[in-house]
Subunit: 256 residues, 2 copies
């Protein structure tokens, strides 16, 4: 991150590519991890799309997203099998060839040689990237992801996706980090709604969300305040806390 | 479901509305549930979008999605607080007024009366639906969702969202159910990729996905076959199983 982050928000979109998520067979486990990691470097995740392994859908969605957001991250579809079509369609979206990357081939060959596995045509597919792309390290299983323009292409398997994301975090230029405080209250949302809305109006730069819960022992709401300015955030949080107390509740702040 | 389902696929999109998902604070727990449930009534989930609680984003996305898919399902943003803006923006998308629904008010009042809770302005917001909408039952906390046109608006809290979805499943008209078989093999994806791709070419109506795994005890891939025709599915599954055996692996099918 630079010393003087840009004043405007830096935005990102996540593209989850995979029939297995849309069929309900596999539960996505990357969204929350990437969202939290992006926020830690001052980048706001503004949209997520889950799309199938369909060539034209990948190309169309990617070309829409990469012009609308500062960064696009994709997960899924970069393995050796016939249903792994992300790399070739990212190349199509950028109108460049998919080419063999010698360094990617070297990394794969080193892994396979060490395990006595043959390098065949299918495995060599994973060494192909769009012309002009730079590699994203894969410390788990060698086959790299890649970056082209503002698009970062990562694996879908959570352990690999998360390792890849950690390895690129340093390349990203964020804006101001969005800070967060949470007040848990033991009042129903309907009881606090009006007063909470008034506080939101008093602090337009703070984004206040209310998330109700019902547990075996009771009910209440988590009131989440988010914003880049620590002083504004502290004032708004104090106002929310005082409001809960004034309405007869007990505000608590979970340890961070 | 009708006796003679339409020949073309029936498609759906899920719109997850909520800053708490995009910030990474909350892990979505509705996608896989709704995807699986839709498939059980012959509807294919084709796209999921996660969008923030921003009025114009909700309106624009909804108007795009409801014309592209047979069904749109939304979760999130229908509570009593200021950040619950889904209902009013669904009304805007359909260019109708948001109106008080007497039956929704009656249901809320019955719940509040039984618990000695006052009906205030914030709670009354939850009895408002777009003009022309029909209610979706909420057996958990009374505040209903609603259907307008091909759009089904549900709560975000998983227990409520899932109960609402169960209550509307009977209203949906699906096509042929997509059947699924899974062969787990103990070979690396790179070993089976070429032969698996050949089987995919032999069975164009079957969608074959390969999902690698690494566990403490070994590695392999789940080979998932999906399609509407039981005979084609059985033939393709047999072909995959025989292929794994021929390549020296041990194909197993998990109990369903």
């Amino acid at each position: 991150m630079s010393d003087s982050p840009p004043a405007r928000p830096v935005t990102a979109c996540l593209l989850i590519i995979g029939n297995e998520i849309l069929s309900g067979r596999t539960q996505d486990a990357n969204l929350a991890y990437i969202a939290t990691g992006l926020n830690s470097v001052g980048i706001q995740l503004r949209e997520v799309r889950v799309i199938p392994d369909v060539a034209d859908t990948i190309v169309g969605t990617l070309n829409e997203m990469r012009h609308r957001f500062d960064y696009v991250f994709t997960t899924g579809g970069i393995g050796p099998t016939h249903d792994d079509i992300t790399a070739e369609n990212v190349a199509r979206a950028f109108n460049v060839d998919l080419v063999l990357d010698p360094e990617a081939k070297r990394r794969l060959k080193a892994l396979y040689d060490s395990r006595g596995i043959e390098m065949n045509e299918a495995r060599l597919r994973m060494a192909h990237v769009p012309q002009g792309a730079t590699l994203i390290d894969n410390p788990v299983s060698a086959a790299p992801g890649f970056q082209i323009g503002n698009v970062f292409v990562m694996a879908g398997v959570p352990k690999v996706a998360q390792a890849m994301f950690e390895s690129i975090k340093g390349r990203l230029t964020g804006g101001r980090t969005v800070l967060s405080r949470t007040i848990t209250c033991d009042l129903a949302e309907g009881t606090i709604a009006q007063a909470l809305g008034a506080i939101q109006q008093d602090f337009p730069e703070i984004d206040i969300g209310s998330y109700p819960f019902w547990t075996a022992t009771g009910f209440g709401a988590n009131l989440v305040l988010r914003g880049p300015d620590p002083e504004q955030l502290a004032m708004a949080t104090d106002a929310v806390s005082a409001m809960v107390t004034a309405l007869g509740g007990n505000p608590t702040e979970p340890p961070t």
